[in-house]
Every structure is written in C-alpha cells, then in structure tokens.
C-alpha cells in the first residue's frame, strides 16, 4: 500500500495519560505499515496541535491521519476541519476513541487500558489504509425550529431565533408562558420581579410574527432526523376530552428548555412537615410576595421577627443523590432576606450555610446582607443543623466552623429550607427524544466547554435548567447560545450529509431483489448495466444504514467506510 499516515495520540491533559501509557502506545504503532509519523500530544484538539497537524499533512504529503483521543462525538468535526484546511479529504481521517472506551472505562487497570488503546489505534490505522476520499451529499433543511418549554430560556431562545429569521414553534405544556420565573418576586440583582420580566417578554413574543405560541400543548411523537423532524402535538391538554386535538409540525431542529423542579424535602428533613413553621424557599418567596408591604410579616397567625435559613437542602448532599451545587439558591436566599427587611421592617435573619457561594457580582448582595445585620453561621458538611420544637418554640442548633465549631442555638419564628434544583419529574420529552442524562439526571450536553448546548442527537440542542442548575442570567446565556447553534442547523436551508452510502458490484450482482426489499428508503432499484440486470443504489436517497448488506447472498453490496476490507482488517488487528 502506498498510503502515508500520520498518527496522533492525545494525553487529554491527563484524562487519557493518567490511565493509558501513551508513549507505549506510540512505540507500539510507529512502525505499523503505512505509518510515516506517530506523535503524542497534550491536547490533540488544541490550536497549536491542530496547526502542527496541518503542517505535518502538508510537509509530508500525508494521505491519511489517525487521531486517538476522546469520543468522536466530540471532535470528529474538529479533525475533519483540520484535514480540510490542510488540503486532505476529510474522509481520510480515522478516529480511535481511547478515552471513553479505554482510559475512563478501565481507569482501574492501566496495563489493560494501555493494551486496549494499542489495539484500538492499530485497528484505526488498518481502517485508514483503506479509507477513500469522498464528497458529501446535501439535503434540504426545514427553516423552522421547535422550542419545547416556554420558561425564560425557551422564550429568550424563541425571540433570538425569530430575530435571526427562523420560524419558531414555542411549545408549552402549561396554559401560560414564563415557567417558574413568572411567579417569582424580586430576583437577583433585585431591580425587577420575575413577574414583570415575563410580562415584558410575553409582549415581545406577541410582537414576533415568526413565533407560533402553542400553550397547553405537549409532544406526543417525534420522528425524523436533523433537517426534517416531524413532531406530533397534542393540543388543549388541560381541557382534556373531547377538546383534545392533534397536529403535526415539521422542523429542522429542536431546542429543549423544559426547566427544573424545586427539591421537595422528605418528611422530617430538618423538621419539614413535622414542625409547622418549617417551610421551603419557594413557599417563603410566595409568603413575601403575598404579604402586605409596610406591615409585619405573618405566617400562620404568628408575627415573624426571627428567621433561620438552612442552606443546601437537596444540594451538595454528602449522603443523598444530589451531590451538585444548585448555584442559584445562595443568592436567592440572600435576596429574600434583603426583600423582607425592605418590605416588612426589622427582622433578624440567621443563615446556616455550608459556605456561601454568591459568585461574581452576587457577592455584593452577600456584603449588603452582612452589613444589614444578618448573621452567617457555617456548619460542617457532616454535622448538619438540628431543628426541634420545644414547648411551642422552634430551636435550631448548629456547630459554627467560623467560631471554632462552637455550638450556636437560635430560637426562631420561621425556618426556611433553602432547597435546590432537581430535574423535571415529567420525563416524557427526554424519553421521546432519547436525550441522554448525566450523573445528576439533568440532560447531558456533548461537552460542557466545547459543545455546551448540543446533544448526541444531531439537530437537538438544550438550554436553561433542564441541563443543570442555573441562575436566570445563566439560563438566558445558555438559551442564546443554543439559539445560535440551532440557527446554524436551519439557516442555510440545506445541510451537508455524510457521503457514506451503499454501492453494488455490478460484476457479481445477480439481481434477486433482497437488498431492495431490505432498504427502508427505497434507494435500491433494478437496473440494466451492460446487458445485465443488477441492483443500483440511488446515492441521494440512500441514508447509509447498511440494512442491505447482510441480505445479499453474493456479497455484492458494500457501504463506503464500512467495507469488508475495512471491517475485517480491524477485526484481525483486534483479535490478536
């Protein structure tokens, strides 16, 4: 073979090299047939390495490259672009996943992980020897988008997409838009209420001709792919039968912004549901909103003069499932504390925290609360506060790290459990769209830094708190980011599709019709070639599934990039 291959083995900043001896991998593959050069690199995806690769390809006239790094879901496009920039057809690049399927999967067995990585890289080299230059096919993409969830993230994304010229279906299961924010009072930084913010956005949505708002609507079915999703909707879900009606929309991309739920403490958790003046932060915010300004704050006919906030309830759990920080709750509790003082006069507030996380400019509110006389007590992670009721008095006891673990006791009129975010309990959208979830059970992006709004399902993006806890500003930022990515899928009206299609060997094909019958796209038809009846594949209709391959008794049909030569050469390497 006359191929000249370059092989790049990534350390991924330790994610691979901590568990795989990448130098040993390089040594093992550098003398493989067709390998002209083999290098290790700290970050294969880094700009400097990409430039080195381009230089290598051009200076050595490489006819193929193998990159051994993370999952191809993450960087396939990156290295295809490197190839293209260097003048190498991008289908001459082959990927070996030695992170998710070697270093991480076998992190407890360095020798085993290294051996596996060597095999995977050698198999990729074997495949690269047979790789051919291919040209992509193009398909029409619907210039419309479905946004599921009309909370602040969904609304902002819909306005952004509409401004970019896309038609938007904004789908909301409730009978009004705004999600959780619509019912909130002041939100950080404290100059506007959630209610007012949503009212303004509602006006903007009404003024956007390209936005079709569908409230009381849920998704019943979804089929198709990027560029051409068909979504069956059920309208008027709140009114029920017989008003329920169904309709189908056709969109090029889907943006999911289904939001979060507040953690509900279990019975007895810090006295919740057992002591009548223990409530959650959302319940407390309702109490503030509905209280009469200028008068004293009253709860269950009791005047509230002393309040204790207990932080991180349902978040940063040592024993529970929710290990993550919910990010917004420290600021929300401090904002609530400032609000009650502003609206109801002097109230003494005790904050029992695990360490306050008012990051960025939220720190200013923390300072303001401290100056106003709020007392902050930091309890140890493993020694949580105890709430009890003795003779009608609610007591809270905790050790304070800031006072050498001295025990602090406070008698209060109200205990507020600062509850965090948990994923939406309605799992229907995630199940229908087959969206993967992370360890925290929120929807998972492909990469939190490199592809933060894309999912592994092509054409589906995620935004806001369905992806993980976020404040309002962070939700809006992620929504705008998802909107731009979504727009890129539909803006051109066409998408480049993979040129990986089936083809027949007319010399050996004796038309029997089995491949045509197996094809779900009617892409194979009977045709006459040089006086012989054979099967011919329509390249624009073929989607490259390969369903036609195993049914051909004469083995006359192959799939580009998955030919017998490519697959069987990989099998031989891996079996050794």
């Amino acid at each position: 073979m006359d191929k000249k291959l370059g092989v790049y083995i990534c350390a991924c900043g330790g994610n691979i090299s901590d568990y795989v001896d990448i130098e040993k991998v390089r040594e093992a593959v550098k003398d493989e047939d067709c390998v002209l050069l083999a290098r290790t690199t700290m970050f294969a995806c880094g700009d400097s390495n990409q430039k080195e690769m381009e230089k290598d390809i051009q200076e050595n006239n490489l006819s193929g490259i193998v990159v051994a790094s993370c999952s191809p879901k993450l960087h396939l496009t990156t290295f295809r672009s490197v190839s293209e920039r260097a003048g190498l057809n991008k289908y001459n690049y082959v990927h070996a996943n030695i992170r998710e399927q070697a270093s991480w999967a076998h992190s407890g067995n360095k020798q085993g992980a290294t051996e596996k990585a060597i095999h995977l890289v050698k198999a990729a080299i074997a495949k690269a020897r047979f790789a051919k230059s291919l040209e992509p096919t193009r398909i029409k993409s619907q210039k419309s988008v479905a946004i599921i969830g009309a909370g602040v993230a969904g609304i902002k994304a819909s306005i952004a997409l509409s401004n970019m010229g896309d038609n938007v279906y904004l789908i909301e299961r409730e009978n009004k838009i705004g999600g959780k924010l619509a019912s909130l009072g002041k939100v950080f930084p404290g100059n506007i209420t959630g209610e007012d913010m949503i009212a303004r956005l509602n006006e903007e949505v009404k003024n956007e001709d390209r936005i079709t708002l569908l409230t009381s609507t849920k998704i019943k079915e979804c089929s198709g792919n990027i560029g051409d999703f068909r979504i069956r909707l059920q309208d008027n879900i709140e009114t029920g039968e017989p008003a329920v009606s169904e309709r189908e929309i056709n969109v090029g991309s889907i943006l999911v912004a289904t939001g979060f739920e507040s953690y509900t403490p279990s019975e007895g958790e810090y006295g919740y549901k057992e002591i009548d003046n223990v409530i959650t932060l959302p319940e407390f915010r309702d109490l503030i909103k509905n209280g009469k300004e200028g008068k004293e704050l009253v709860f269950k006919n009791r005047k509230i003069r002393d309040i204790a906030f207990i932080y991180c309830v349902g978040s940063r759990q040592i024993k529970g499932e929710n290990k993550y920080c919910s990010r917004y709750c420290c600021s929300a509790a401090i904002q609530s504390s400032l609000d009650i003082k502003e609206r109801f006069g002097d109230v003494q507030v005790y904050h029992f925290t695990k360490g306050v996380r008012t990051y960025g400019s939220q720190e200013l509110k923390y300072a303001e609360a401290s100056r106003s006389g709020d007392i902050f007590i930091q309890f140890p992670d493993k020694d949580e506060p105890v709430v009890s009721s003795e003779k009608g008095v609610t007591l809270i006891k905790a050790k304070d790290i800031l006072s050498a673990k001295k025990e602090i006791e406070a008698a209060v009129d109200l205990v507020v459990l600062v509850t965090g975010m948990v994923p939406d309990s309605d799992k229907s959208v995630g199940s229908l769209l087959k969206l993967p979830r992370g360890r925290d059970n929120f929807f998972n992006e492909i990469h939190m830094k490199l592809r933060p709004v894309e999912t592994v399902i092509d054409g589906i993006t995620i935004a806001g708190t369905c992806q993980g806890p976020k404040g309002v500003m962070e939700s809006v930022n992620s929504a705008l980011s998802a909107a731009v990515k979504t727009h890129s899928f539909v803006s051109k009206g066409e998408l480049e599709l993979s040129p990986i299609v089936a083809y027949t060997d007319v010399k050996t094909c004796e038309w029997c019709g089995a491949c045509s019958e197996a094809c779900p796209y009617n892409a194979i038809s009977k045709s006459e070639e040089d006086g012989k009846v054979v099967a011919i594949v329509n390249k624009t209709t073929c989607k490259g599934c390969g369903m036609c391959l195993p049914v051909c008794d004469s083995d006359s049909i192959e799939l580009t990039s998955f030919t017998n030569n490519e697959i069987e050469s990989m099998i031989e390497i891996l079996a050794n």
Binding site: H106, C545, A575
Partner: protein
Amino acid sequence: MVSQAKILVFSTEKISDPAIDMAGLLKLHYPPQVYTIAIPCSSGVKPRWILKALEKGFDGVFIAADGSDCSHGESCTEKTGAIVGKTHNLMKEKGIDPARLKMAALCSVCSESFVKQIRSFNEYLLKSKNS
C-alpha cells in the same frame, strides 16, 4: 485458566456507541478485552464479519442493537434478529457454540445495561472456555 474473555461489540454510531461512551464517562468498569467497532445500524452487520471475528480469536460477539430506537425504521429489531438467526445457523454448521453470539437492544443512555450485559456474557464465555 483464562480470566477474561475477548469480546467484539458491534455498536451503532448514534444509539449504542453513546451508551458505551457514557459507561466510560461514568467509570462503570467492564473487562478491557471488550473491543467496539461502531457501524451505522445494527441491521448492517454481515454474518461473515461475525464468523471472521470468532475464527480469528474472539471468544464472543455482542451486537448492541438499535432496537425500537433505530432512526432507520421499525424493522431494525426484526432485521438484526434475522442476522443473528442466520449467523447462528452458520455457526452450528461450523461446530461453533451459537451462544457465543449475543444480541441485546441498547438505547443511547443504557450504559448500566451495557456493562451488565457484557459482564454476564464475559462470565458465560469464561465458563464455557474453561470447562
């Protein structure tokens, strides 16, 4: 006494491969002698590839099928099942234990299921290999 079986997994690029990747991400360990070749759809696995793998030294072949999640149509489960049936017959003809080829539907988030299936397949293959 062999402690690990060598297994070839045919996974699919959009459905089961993300699940296998996620198993790695979640550090759900499985034997390192499990190798994956990703293809577009489980209905596209040729019986000759399976036989080649078994003849070249793999103890078992596992098809991580798309099942009802397949974006290429509902017939995928049936078609992958037909490939397995056809290959089982070919294996019997060659005197190969048909249980060395296993198929299970694996969705894009079925990481735990993948690890469970692979561990149990590994145990079966080891047991029959060492017996």
